[in-house]
């Protein structure tokens, strides 16, 4: 009997340790830390989402060439900017991506996203952009001499040099002897700062020329 109880005790102890380890594992894999880490790595979660296993609450790039007209969604932020690291901002940007995607689909336009980090260090910038879900394309490094700043703040479509910032641009492509070229680029929306971005989402993310009927506040 004594020998039998000893075996039971050992088995029970092993079982208890296994249950403990399992609960730690469940706690860890269900944690926001792990899910955030997962979504910042291209492949795993998007594949799960594509298979329909999870309702897609994140923007997922299509990874294909765009046709005639696209809406380019640009997020410009910075690892070193306090306002770009506001804890509410990733959710606001994700919402903005999804709403813009819906609107683009409604008007039969393509959509792509660009994440731009105004940081000296490429790694710091990528780490910052990793908090904002998936992008079709990212640009990081060279601080304000960054290519995205040249395109969307200083030269092609000039505007306020500040982060965080959201810029929506309508781009028209046309075939040329060098392949498909951008033949027209038009600013649709520029929102600077978390408050402007949040206000814009609050009123239904309206875009001039793109009636959506989504406005949640009456004029």
């Amino acid at each position: 009997m004594t020998e039998k109880y000893r075996i039971y005790n050992i088995l029970f102890s092993i079982f208890s340790v296994l249950v403990l380890l399992l609960s730690f594992a469940v706690g860890f894999f269900a944690s926001p830390f792990f899910l955030d880490a997962l979504t910042s790595r291209i492949g795993l979660l998007p594949n799960m989402l594509h298979s329909g296993a999870i309702n897609p609450a994140y923007y997922i790039p299509e990874y294909k060439a765009k046709r005639d007209v696209e809406i380019l969604f640009v997020y410009i932020g910075s690892h070193s900017c306090k306002f770009s690291n506001d804890e509410d901002l990733p959710n606001l940007i994700e919402q903005a991506k999804l709403i813009t995607q819906d609107l683009a689909r409604e008007h039969e336009y393509e959509m792509s996203t660009l994440g731009a980090a105004i940081d000296w260090s490429v790694e710091d910038g990528l780490r910052h952009l990793g908090k904002f879900g998936l992008f079709d394309e990212v640009i990081s490094g060279r601080k304000w001499q960054n290519t995205s700043a040249r395109l969307f703040i200083y030269e092609n479509i000039p505007g306020a040099a500040a982060t965080p910032q959201l810029v929506l641009v309508k781009r028209r492509f046309a075939p040329s002897s060098f392949g498909r070229q951008i033949v027209e680029e038009k600013l649709l929306v520029r929102k600077v700062g978390k408050d402007e971005i949040a206000d814009w989402l609050f009123i239904g993310a309206p875009i001039p020329g793109f009636p959506s009927g989504m406005s949640s506040v009456k004029n």
Partner: protein, 378 residues
């Protein structure tokens, strides 16, 4: 045995994280508060040649004075979603053509000036984002001279753009560079007065002809012995032209004292807001030796200046009190008179007033950009 080093590692990571966060914040090692009280006192006391006018919010505000705060606009320009010309990105400034009853709205997101009539009907637009002639990069302010039908736009890229306005259209005519990154500008008698500051000229206002030639510089600036403080605080402020009396009102942000000049730059009067409590700007030195100025978050009861504007011979100034109900306090004064008048409180930021027609023009960007026209004739 297993847990102890684990917790030690967690503690170490936590401590590193805390140290990293701290290193991102500027640390004030030594500090003086600006605007310095001695600078204000010197300007108030040294007024033997220039008379001083004091303005103050009365202890009790009559119902009549509080009325402006509660009235509804008769016209609203700006929609959440409709015609693109009624959807604004961010309203930065307004100018009003009182003779022809038109409002020019400067949109700093679409980099465009749009003209509307007093009833809110769209008339025409000019500008657009870009660096080509007539296009805008970082638009900051506009002003309209109805005597000459000249509209100017100030771009933070050191450019003043001049447009000529007809009854039905607006056309870009010329632009010139100014000598410092400007903060504000106004136009009067074929001259542009740009508000800013540079160590070279040590003046708050530069005067240019419309062909871009600099003809004069004048104006009191924030005189600190620390060049970093002087160069940071001096450029920020407003300039507004009174084209009836040919005078200018000039301010330095976050200070309670303003200066009235004639168009030649002679100081005519100083205005002191007795009941204005400015926010604290703390001068300091970072641990690595670099100078810093920290704008503290406005505290309850502190005051922040809003837009200045003019009508006939009067200047209008307004400010609001942080976390205090009652809106913005509005004052009116004629620089040639002995005293000014407390006009009451406003719910929105006013940009201009047309007392002859009985209209007040205000704007708000939250939750979406709009311009309001109030009937203040009653």
């Amino acid at each position: 045995m297993f847990m102890e080093p684990y917790f030690a590692r967690v503690l170490l990571v936590y401590m590193i994280a805390i140290a990293g966060c701290n290193s991102n914040h500027p640390e004030i090692v030594t500090g003086r508060i600006h605007p310095a009280q001695e600078w204000i006192s010197n300007l108030i006391e040294a007024n033997e040649r220039t008379p001083l006018m004091r303005l103050a919010v009365p202890d009790t505000i009559s119902k009549e004075k509080a009325r402006l705060h509660d009235i509804d606009p008769i016209v609203q320009i700006g929609k959440i979603e409709e015609d693109s010309k009624l959807m604004f990105g961010y309203i930065e400034d307004l100018a009003v053509d009182k003779k022809n009853k038109r409002i020019f709205i400067l949109d700093a997101r679409y980099n465009e000036i749009r003209a509307f009539d007093y009833n809110g009907a769209f008339l025409f637009a000019v500008g657009g984002p870009g660096v080509a002639p007539g296009e805008l990069q970082y638009p900051q302010a506009i002003d309209f001279d109805d005597k000459k039908n000249t509209l100017i736009t100030l771009d933070r890229n050191r450019t003043v753009l001049i447009y000529s306005v007809s009854d039905t259209s607006i056309a870009y005519s010329f632009s010139f560079k100014v000598d410092f990154p400007p903060w504000d500008a106004c136009v009067m008698n074929d001259h542009v007065f740009a508000r800013g500051y540079s160590e070279e000229v040590k003046s708050a206002v530069l005067k240019y002809r419309l062909d871009g030639a600099r003809v004069d510089s004048f104006g009191i600036y924030y005189d600190s012995e620390n060049p970093f403080v002087r160069q940071t605080l001096s450029p920020r402020g407003q300039v507004v032209c009174n084209r009836e009396s040919n005078t200018l009102l000039v301010s330095i942000d976050h200070t309670p004292i303003f200066f009235v000049y004639d168009e030649e730059g002679t100081e005519l009067r100083r205005i002191y807001l007795d009941t204005f409590d400015p926010i604290d700007i703390i001068e300091g030195v970072l641990p690595d030796g670099r100078p810093t100025l920290e704008y503290t978050a406005p505290q309850k009861g502190e005051n922040v200046l809003s837009r200045f504007f003019t009508h006939e011979n009067d200047f209008f100034v307004q400010y609001f009190t942080v976390e205090q109900k009652g809106g913005r306090h509005l004052f009116k004064f004629d620089p040639n008179a002995e005293t000014g008048e407390y006009m009451g409180t406003l719910g929105e930021v006013a940009f201009d007033i047309d007392l002859a027609q009985g209209y007040l023009f205000a704007a708000s960007n939250r939750p979406y950009p709009r311009v309001f026209v109030f009937d203040v004739s009653i």
